[in-house]
């Protein structure tokens, strides 16, 4: 099972896959002790789970996948028209083409519904943005119960001069694990901008590969993981500047409390000939407990001339001076910690254009931020 998981999860040859799963091998091994059966595509979605994704703002533009399979009953596509082409090759494979005339934000929901015993599902999607400016929300939710292991392979293609903004919000119970592998190609003058919040989950692995193949193409990435308990998140970004005057700007933050484990791997490669590239990567982390662990690896490989590049990564603790300042004004320790951690995470999303979405992420962060039982 372990070997099989590694075969289907991750890119590159066996050695590369092995290496990229270095920090998550134990978590993966623990998961592979389970005997998984195929997850039920027809599983019913409870009202409380629905409440997590039935946002008034996305009414009529919501596509819901239950255990990886498209669910007509849960989706609400009433406002979708020809501007969005949905092609379904099978119930666990979907191809979306978002036309320039598409208006509003498309909400994709992946719901993990457990069965009586551990189950797994795998889905693939293709997203094409041939023109215009598309906005997507990709949300992952789950019901607590028996283990569910989901895997989604996504290909995104942003054509010349198009722009796509994707916000992914993955908020899972401790019994759900998720592997996401997203591969994006960005053409001339196109822009791919993503914001990610990774909360909860037993094991969340996220591989994002971005190929800046077109001149003047751009990739922006903002992300946060906030973990506690024995949660485990492993983020791998792999950006390749393959053309002239391409830019990437990556800002990620991580918070780990209790016995959780976070991994951030950010690799940027500037290929020969990709002159004028501008590559920025910043990763800051907060370690809230002596039993938590965060590993961060920024990797920069440059084969071109005339490149502007900067990268930095830190792992630190809460600022004791700030904590004392807040407490000296009367804020209890837990409230003061929560305020500082919240501010640390929120700063990443400060620039997010969709205000309602930012507020939603912030509210979620507030409930997921480790406040009580500091360092336990």
């Amino acid at each position: 099972m372990n070997a099989a998981l590694l075969d289907s999860y991750g890119t590159g040859d066996a050695r590369e896959r092995e290496e990229s799963w270095r920090y998550s091998k134990a978590a993966l091994r623990a998961l592979s002790q389970h005997d998984f059966i195929d997850a039920d595509a027809q599983a019913s979605v409870s009202a409380s789970l629905r409440a997590q994704f039935e946002w008034p703002q996305s009414t009529g533009r919501r596509l819901v996948f239950v255990n990886g399979a498209y669910s007509q009953t849960c989706s609400d596509a009433s406002l979708l028209d020809d501007a969005l082409m949905i092609e379904q090759a099978s119930d666990r494979r979907v191809v979306l083409t978002i036309g320039a005339a598409f208006d509003g934000v498309l909400h994709l929901v992946y719901a993990n519904v457990p069965g009586m015993q551990p189950s797994r599902w795998q889905a693939t999607s293709e997203i094409h943005v041939p023109a215009g400016n598309a906005s997507l929300i990709e949300q992952h939710v789950g019901e607590a119960g028996a283990d569910v292991l989901g895997a989604i392979m996504t290909d995104i293609h942003v054509s010349a001069r198009a722009a796509v903004h994707v916000t992914t919000l993955s908020d899972l119970p401790d019994s759900a694990s998720l592997y996401r592998r997203t591969q994006a190609t960005v053409d001339d003058d196109a822009c791919y901008a993503v914001a990610h919040a990774i909360l909860g989950g037993r094991l969340q692995r996220f591989d994002l590969g971005v190929e800046l193949v077109g001149a003047h193409s751009r990739f922006d990435s903002r992300g946060v993981f906030a973990l506690r308990g024995r949660q485990h998140a492993d983020v791998h970004l792999d950006v390749r500047h393959g053309a002239r005057d391409t830019a990437c700007d990556i800002v990620w933050r991580g918070v780990a409390d209790q016995r959780s484990r976070g991994i951030f791997h950010g690799a940027i490669t500037v290929a020969a000939g990709a002159d004028g590239a501008d590559a920025q990567l910043s990763n800051k982390n907060l370690l809230l407990s002596p039993h938590a662990e965060i590993d961060t690896q920024p990797v920069l490989e440059i084969y071109a001339d005339e490149v502007k590049a900067a990268h930095g990564a830190t792992v630190g603790q809460l600022d004791e001076r700030a904590l004392f300042y807040l407490r000296s004004r009367g804020l209890p320790l837990e409230a003061a910690r929560g305020l500082l951690i919240g501010a640390f995470c929120r700063s990443v999303f400060a620039g997010l254009a969709q205000t309602d979405l930012r507020e939603r992420i912030e509210a979620l962060l507030d409930t997921r931020i480790p406040a009580g039982g500091a360092g336990a």
Binding site: D319, R329, A335, L339
Partner: protein, 253 residues
């Protein structure tokens, strides 16, 4: 209100305060002066409950109750306030949100009802006016991007808002121009009351021209070496702290 007896405090194994006794009654303003490294800020920090200060001997009573066992937030709720020498910048934490949360946390601790945002804002407006602070500062993050003078005035503004029983001003005058100094003094004087006390820690006598103290103490090398009325501050200004060093030598001999 505050009773310190034979207080010894060490920081990282080094003794900084070497037996301080001090009694401050409600309605009084005490000034603590002294050269760099005398232990003035240590005293303020120990009173507010900062970590890293080890009390090796002595007791502190605040309002008749032992203070040292209390967490910083409990001291604040009991009426202790420290205006920081170096106010901390806290990016991402909104000033208004923080102040309201702090005030309501204190009120809750004391069994008082929490203020709603209307009541809170009314109180904020009143206090802002006294310190000539711009409304705009409230919408920023705590102390972020504030000038040195704004930070110090913000400390006094917080004090005005929280209405403590005992306020400790740790070198609030340092780095202030004369106008800001006057505003700070006005803010403090407006709060002087029979049920409230102040400890004003400063290097210079100038602040004490505006906030006139009842008692002046000179702290040197971890001890209070001299106490007197406000004229003591003037003598220090004229003769410098070297004069104290001589007295200390005389005392030791």
């Amino acid at each position: 209100m505050l009773k310190i007896e034979n207080l010894h405090v060490s920081v990282a194994g080094k003794e900084i305060l070497k037996g301080i006794s001090l009694e401050v009654n409600a309605g009084e303003v005490h000034a603590i002066m002294g050269p760099n490294g005398a232990g003035k800020s240590t005293l303020g920090n120990v009173l507010a409950g900062r970590e890293g200060y080890e009390v090796t001997q002595g007791t502190i009573e605040f309002d008749g109750k032992p203070l040292l066992a209390l967490e910083p937030e409990a001291r604040a709720a009991a009426g202790m306030f420290l205006a920081f020498q170096y106010p901390v910048e806290i990016p991402g934490v909104n000033n208004t949100y923080f102040l309201r949360a702090a005030l309501n946390a204190q009120r809750k601790q004391r069994g008082e009802s929490e203020l709603d945002s209307m009541q809170f804002l009314k109180r904020v407006r009143e206090k802002l006016a006294v310190l000539h602070l711009k409304d705009e500062l409230l919408h920023r993050a705590v102390n972020e991007g504030f000038s040195g003078g704004e930070k110090k005035r913000n400390e006094i503004f917080q004090m005005a808002l929280l209405e403590p029983k005992l306020a400790i001003l740790d070198e609030t005058d340092s780095g202030l121009d004369i106008d800001a100094l006057k505003m700070v003094a006005d803010g403090v004087n407006a709060m002087r009351a029979s049920e409230r006390a102040f400890i004003v820690i400063t290097h210079y006598q100038r602040l004490l021209d505006y906030i006139v103290p009842d008692v002046v103490h000179v702290l040197a090398d971890g001890r209070i070496v001299e106490s007197g009325d406000k004229s003591l501050a003037h003598r220090l200004e004229e003769q410098g702290y070297a004069w104290i060093a001589e007295r200390k030598l005389a005392g030791a001999a």
